[in-house]
């Protein structure tokens, strides 16, 4: 990574934040998918958001 590419300070902790957000969203997507599967098993077509 070139030094000049960092001329906007990515922020202390902000890369870590991105990583954690990625994890959190991944987990929530996983559970959403499971919930959707279970609902479809019981014949419920629509997922209430």
């Amino acid at each position: 990574m070139n030094a000049f590419l960092l001329y906007i300070d990515p922020g202390t902790g902000s890369l870590l934040l991105q990583f954690l957000i990625g994890l959190a969203l991944g987990v929530s997507m996983f559970f959403k998918a499971i919930r959707y599967k279970i609902r479809s098993l019981f014949g419920r077509k629509k997922e209430s958001e």
Binding site: P10, L15, F19, I21, G22
Partner: protein, 458 residues
């Protein structure tokens, strides 16, 4: 670097080592420096520019051959010249929201073409009517697999956190952002938002977790890898979050002006006809609608003028105007939140980065409809001060409505206060304006005691 004698580098353009903006004979150009050449060439060759430009999402530019204008720059661009500039601290809620979603869309499109939006500065977005456009052609760089989105924090500070605050505190003026040219921090946002926001998953992730992590220092962040899928997931989540935000109170101070007005429909109709008559005769190139309210007359003016600059100090009125503009798709009306008694100042380094409202406000015709009683009585500005204000804004014409003291609207302003305005009358008004303007037409508006003046600048 050698600079051609009459090429002047723009004072706002010093942050990016990839290039800068300069002015030559009144025209804005962009110089691409060696550090920015790769990003620029990728933008052009990948097909990203063609797509964004065709969709009207990025400013168009002409690549000039030769660099006489700015020796030392490997590439000079001549971008499409914009009719008007407004700054994020002059945008209403929906303007900022639209600009935020536009920025996220650019990240998404960039990634499709193997590029990354490296800069998420709100000042890189301008409006043509209600259409947001990216004005910085050097905002993209090659996307490297696994590299996080470096401008993510900047995006939050320039867009997400201000939106959250404006949503939560509808009384907060967009001018609040003037004090924070680099954006609002997660910590400030977290400290201002009420406790119940902690119950929201999105607030937890993007505000409270961000604020907690921002206290961390000196971790070895360079090893963190984020996949493209994760970046897109983050972008999608942000889009959903931002779209869900609605200002808590949509009710504008003046937005009910026309509906609940004690003024008769006959008055409004005759005023509309009189204004339309004058517009059709003058066909002014550029109209400034001062105190535009929700823009009834801005839309009317846009039928005759090429460009209308409409502003009002009431952010909620401007927001309604902007939403109407989105439906009409007109690009002739540029809207902003600003007032005349406390106009946007020049800001930034040496006060030269962002220009003041008076520097930008120039028209061939200025509309000052149902405005003068607010300035003279609502804000105590002495009548003799006012002609100079309008003199500075117009190159030719001024269409101004005098609202006398006995008018119900003026009486409303005087209701809760002492009448300290013995000199507020038609004679004093005409005498004051006579120093700077020639009165060309004078019309009494039916069903009222208001008088409409067409004046010409000396």
């Amino acid at each position: 670097m050698m600079v051609a004698s009459d090429s002047k580098r723009h004072p706002a353009s010093y942050r990016d080592p990839c290039g800068f903006v300069f002015r030559h004979s009144g025209i804005i150009y962009r110089a691409v420096l060696p550090a920015g050449l790769e990003g620029y060439e990728l933008l052009m060759q990948s097909g990203l520019y063609a797509q964004l430009h065709q969709q009207g999402r990025i400013i168009g530019h002409e690549a000039l051959s030769g660099n006489e204008l700015m020796p030392g720059a490997p590439q000079i661009l001549k971008p499409q010249q914009l009719p008007f500039w407004s700054y994020p601290y002059e945008w209403s809620f929906h303007q900022l929201q639209v600009a935020a979603l536009h920025t996220l869309g650019l990240v998404r499109s960039g990634l499709e073409f193997g590029l990354m939006l490296k800069d998420a500065n709100a000042n890189n977005i301008q409006f043509l009517g209600s259409r947001p456009i990216l004005i910085d052609s050097l905002s993209f760089e090659r996307y490297e697999d696994g590299k996080p989105w470096l401008a993510f924090r900047q995006f939050c500070e320039h867009f997400l956190y201000p939106l959250l605050l404006f949503q939560r505190f509808p009384e907060l003026s967009p001018a609040f952002l003037m004090a924070y040219p680099d954006g609002i921090s997660a910590r400030l946002t977290a400290s201002m938002l009420p406790w119940k926001c902690r119950l929201s998953w999105n607030h937890q992730l993007y505000v409270f977790l961000a604020a907690a992590l921002s206290k961390k220092t000196g971790t070895s962040q360079k090893v963190i890898r984020i996949s493209k899928g994760k970046i897109l997931q983050n972008v999608a989540q942000l889009e959903g979050f931002i779209k869900s935000l609605k200002p808590r109170s949509q009710k504008a101070v003046w937005s009910n002006y026309y509906q609940e007005s004690i003024l008769s429909a006959g008055y409004l109709e005759s005023k509309r006809q009189a204004v339309e008559q004058i517009l059709s005769e003058l066909k002014p190139e550029r109209v400034v609608d001062a105190g535009c309210n929700t823009g009834n007359f801005s839309f009317l003016a846009s039928e005759y003028a090429q460009e209308v600059i409409a502003f009002d100090a009431d952010a909620a009125s401007v927001d309604l105007l902007f939403q109407e503009l989105r439906l009409s798709k007109s690009e002739r009306i540029q809207v902003l939140v600003a007032g005349l008694t406390n106009p946007t100042p020049a800001l930034g380094w040496a006060l030269a980065e962002r220009s003041s409202l008076p520097e930008r406000l120039q028209g061939n015709l200025v509309l000052a409809l149902a405005l003068i009683h607010h300035l003279a009585i609502g804000s105590n500005v002495p009548l003799p001060y006012l002609p100079e204000l309008f003199f500075g804004m117009t190159q030719q014409w001024l269409l101004i409505e005098f609202v006398p003291k006995q008018d119900p609207k003026t009486q409303l302003l005087l209701q809760a206060r002492e009448d300290i305005f013995p000199d507020y009358n038609l004679e004093a008004f005409e005498a004051a304006f006579a120093k700077h303007f020639q009165i060309e037409k004078k019309m009494l508006l039916p069903h009222s005691e208001r008088v409409l003046y067409l004046m010409k600048r000396y």
